[in-house]
Every structure is written in structure tokens, then in C-alpha cells.
């Protein structure tokens, strides 16, 4: 049996959120495992997502878990339902609300945390 390869710890590749499709059973999943969580097969096809979706929920943190985040309060954390059907956590503006259409913005390194910004009305 093949040795497992280390799984990807970043949710994005380049400037796109990346998901995986099992070439055996067709199941699609977001968080990399190196195998299909439905059937266990390891032949996976990575594919890029649009990065656009709808805010499902948002919380503004006034109490940080670490000294690193203490300087950033208040900051918003949202769960976003991407158009392709996956739910991801990301940062966003303080005034974003559930239902808002947003898009992932990539700045700097591709493994930086996801940051979502509202889509302009014309884009919606």
C-alpha cells in the first residue's frame, strides 16, 4: 500500500479556493484529507471554486483567544456558503450581515486566511 502523502493545510491554491472531487464515487469535499471521506479512495481531482457566496452567519469578536488577536479586536468572523455548496470560515468587514453576497479577496500569500468582501450590487 502507498504511503499517505501529507494533506494540504491551505484552503486555497494561487488565487482560488480549492476543493476535491473523488474520481471514483464523485463525492466533492473541501477540507483536504488525502482520501475521499465517503468511499476512502485516494484518486482525487482538485478543482477551483469561484470564491463567491452568501454569508450564512457572522460574529464580531470583542474577546480574542490569543495575544496576537488582542490588538485586532473588534474583528468579524463569518461562515460563508460558497456557490458551489461548501461552507467556509473567513474574515470580513464588521458590518457584513447574513444574506450578503461576498467574494474571497486574495492578498499576499495564497495560504493567508480567507478574507471576504461584499460584492458590489452590479456583481450580484
Amino acid at each position: 500500500m502507498d504511503l499517505p502523502t501529507p494533506r494540504a493545510k491551505s484552503i486555497s491554491e494561487g488565487s482560488a479556493v480549492r476543493a476535491y472531487r473523488c474520481t471514483d464515487c464523485g463525492f466533492e469535499h473541501l477540507y483536504a484529507r488525502g482520501f475521499c471521506p465517503r468511499c476512502g479512495k485516494t484518486d482525487l481531482q482538485p478543482f477551483s471554486l469561484s470564491g463567491e457566496g452568501r454569508v450564512a452567519s457572522v460574529t464580531v469578536l470583542h474577546r480574542a483567544p490569543t495575544p496576537e488577536y488582542e490588538s485586532k479586536v473588534p474583528y468579524a468572523v463569518a461562515l460563508v456558503d460558497l456557490d458551489e455548496g461548501f461552507r467556509v470560515m473567513g474574515h470580513g468587514p464588521l458590518d457584513v450581515v447574513p444574506g450578503a453576497r461576498v467574494s474571497a479577496v486574495f492578498e499576499g500569500s495564497s495560504d493567508a486566511p480567507l478574507n471576504f468582501q461584499p460584492l458590489a450590487k452590479a456583481d450580484q
Partner: protein
């Protein structure tokens, strides 16, 4: 101990320390305090305990907490285990104790947990950082989310979907504080109003300070036995559908109803048969979502039901978390989730009110509504 024939698991005894700041006592001191109370309540001596189930302690991380405690407390059980399912650990340990007794593997199982989560070195800050790690290590924790943050996300979506307003959540906090007012062991006993809750400082919106349970020191213990007693466990169930908040398939089907359904089916009961409730309430949204998914309150109705007295004993309602729950009796980790069980046992025994009823239900969740454990109890 000779191996018993098994059969029914009865509650031989319970023990619960005060919660709050218990300076100078560590995990072993606190666990011993509750265990001694429990054995005394059960009328048992140490040599009669042949099973031991503990949880974990964030302030005394140890590979073998159960054995560590056994040696410290002075028992030599024939079965030992230490469980870790977050806030559901206490009820899961009680369920395991039930199974050990029912199978005949053990005759007297001591379930005990406790920790000095508040007064330990590092205190609150350390606890907040440790607890945040139940989030996804790669895809949630790096965002600076906290346990209140994960539950704030649930509250945000639940409000959007079911119209639960912040004042509705505040009803939960007010009610739990009211319950704790008469309990000398409760961490927080000063009554609060809806206005107080609404004016408390934001922690993780929409959750404010008074929507969140305190971090406490404390311990709890339960003795399960094959020896017939007034209260027996008639059903237990679990459900585990996800670990992380971003992986909850539907916030209306977290596993709470599945777990409760399994326990109630085993007991041959429905939610309508239940007289006394002990429901996990780490946050006001936690209790709201659990009550509504299990079916004690209709969707979006918990705040209204509380206002209308559905859970107010003085107005003919069903007793729920009479000790004040995690929100006011306090939260000392695994023991926090066991305090609801101890409270329901006390109610069924008639400690509070001789007519409290015959059927009890206890539910706990661990993580972010991730691990669910439900237990049904019946009094003779």
C-alpha cells in the same frame, strides 16, 4: 467485588461541590471532594467501588487521569477509563457507567470529574485559548475565533433562520440566574434583568457577557450501581455528526434530536412524558437550540416559552436546570455538564418538591453542538 449479574443501572448516590472560586484546590482535591460526598450519599465504602470513569482536566492534563485519581482517592477498580468528549464528557461517562452496570461488568461505578479552571495558573485567559482549539486547526483556529465566537456564529444563523432575537436569548440568562438565586453553591447568584443582559458587554456578537457561562472551579460525582435504588437510568443515547462549526450540515439537525430520540426510544418515552429537564446551557443560544431541536419548545419559541412560564416551577411549568445551569451555577469543565444530572436526580428524589414528577431527561453537548449525549431517568 464479585462480578454482578447486571441488569438495571440505578443511581446509588451523587455529589456536587460549590462552583466558583475555590482557591488552592487542584483537580485531584476537587474530584476527591465530590467523590467523597457521592460515596457518603450512596452509603458505600471505597472497597465497594469496582468501576471508575473520569473525564479530563484542562488544568491537570494527564495521560491517565482515571488511574491517577484511583491511586489518589484510594480505590483499586477492576475497570477504569477516562473520556474526552468536551462538554458531553460527563453524560457520556454516566452512560458508560450505566452500560458497565447493565452488562454485569461492574457493580458500583464511580463517575467523577472536576477542575480548578478559574483559579488555576493562567485562569480565564488560558482556558479561553485552550477551549478555542476545538475549532478546526487549519481552517478555523487561525481566524481568531473563540468558543463564544463559534456559538455566536450559530446564534447569528439561528436568528436569521428562526427569528430568535437577542432579547429572546436574554430570557434564558435571566431564568438561569433566577434558578441559581436560592442555591448557596452557585457561582453567580445576583439576579439580573433582561436590561442587564442586553447592556452587558459584547463578547462575540450577538452574544454578550451574560449570554455566556462563567469559568468556574468545581467538581461533581455520580455512583451507578446494580443495587436497587429510587432512581434508575432507563435510556441513553448519543449522536456525533460533525466536529467543527463550519462542517455542521444543518443547524436544525445538529444531532441533538437524534441523540435524544435514541435515549427516549430506549426508555419507551417521548418528550411529552418528561417532568424534569437538565439541558446543557454553555450559552443562551445553546439551551435555545437544544430545547428546540429536541422538541421541548417549538422552533423560535424558547424565549416566549420562558416568558410565559413553561419552565417556571412557581407558575406550574416544568423544572429545568433548577441549580442555575452552566450559565449561573457555573462551568468547571466536565463537572459542569454533570451538575445538570445531579440536579435532575435531586429533583426526582423530591429534594426540591415532593411532586416534581417521575421522569427526568438530561442532555449535554460537547464542542460546537458536536457530540451529543442524552439520558433518561425514572423514579420509583
Amino acid at each position: 467485588m464479585t462480578r454482578s449479574k447486571g441488569g438495571t443501572a440505578y443511581i446509588g448516590g451523587v455529589g456536587l461541590t460549590p462552583f466558583g472560586r475555590l482557591e488552592g484546590l487542584d483537580t485531584l482535591d476537587l474530584m476527591s471532594w465530590a467523590a467523597n460526598e457521592c460515596l457518603s450519599n450512596a452509603g458505600l465504602i471505597r472497597a465497594e467501588v469496582d468501576g471508575l470513569v473520569t473525564g479530563y482536566s484542562t488544568t491537570m492534563p494527564h495521560l491517565m487521569l482515571a488511574t491517577l485519581f484511583a491511586e489518589h482517592f484510594g480505590i483499586e477498580p477492576s475497570y477504569c477509563n477516562g473520556l474526552a468528549l468536551g462538554g458531553a464528557t460527563g453524560c457520556a461517562a454516566i452512560m458508560l457507567g450505566k452500560m458497565l452496570v447493565e452488562s454485569g461488568q461492574c457493580g458500583n461505578v464511580l463517575v467523577v470529574a472536576g477542575e480548578n479552571r478559574l483559579s488555576s495558573k493562567g485562569g480565564r485567559n488560558s482556558a479561553i485559548q485552550t477551549l478555542a482549539q476545538v475549532g478546526h486547526a487549519d481552517f478555523e483556529v487561525p481566524y481568531g475565533c473563540t468558543i463564544p465566537g463559534y456559538y455566536g456564529l450559530l446564534a447569528s444563523e439561528y436568528a436569521d433562520r428562526h427569528g430568535v432575537r437577542e432579547v429572546d436569548l436574554a430570557e434564558v440568562a435571566v431564568h438561569m440566574r433566577g434558578n441559581a438565586a436560592g442555591r448557596s453553591g452557585a457561582h453567580l447568584r445576583t439576579p439580573v434583568s433582561i436590561e442587564d443582559v442586553m447592556a452587558s458587554k459584547p463578547i462575540a456578537t450577538p452574544l454578550k457577557l451574560l449570554d455566556c457561562c462563567p469559568i468556574s472551579d468545581g467538581a461533581a460525582a455520580v455512583l451507578l450501581t446494580s443495587r436497587p435504588a429510587q432512581i434508575r437510568i432507563t435510556g441513553a443515547g448519543q449522536a456525533h455528526r460533525h466536529q467543527h462549526v463550519s462542517s455542521i450540515g444543518s443547524i436544525d439537525e445538529t444531532g441533538a434530536a437524534l441523540s435524544a430520540g435514541r435515549a427516549l426510544a430506549q426508555a419507551g418515552r417521548t418528550v411529552d412524558d418528561i417532568d424534569v429537564l437538565g439541558i446543557y446551557d454553555s450559552f443562551t443560544i445553546t439551551l435555545t437550540m437544544l430545547l428546540e431541536e429536541i422538541g421541548f419548545s417549538a422552533r423560535g419559541r424558547t424565549g416566549i416559552d420562558l416568558r410565559e412560564g413553561r419552565y417556571d416551577v412557581s407558575r406550574g411549568g416544568k423544572p429545568m436546570n433548577g441549580h442555575g445551569g452552566l450559565l449561573s451555577y457555573g462551568h468547571s469543565g466536565v463537572a459542569g455538564g454533570m451538575a445538570h444530572f445531579v440536579e435532575v436526580v435531586g429533583s426526582l428524589r423530591g429534594d426540591r418538591n415532593a411532586d416534581a414528577g417521575k421522569s427526568g431527561f438530561v442532555h449535554a453537548d460537547g464542542g460546537v453542538l458536536s457530540s451529543h449525549v442524552s439520558i433518561v431517568l425514572e423514579a420509583e
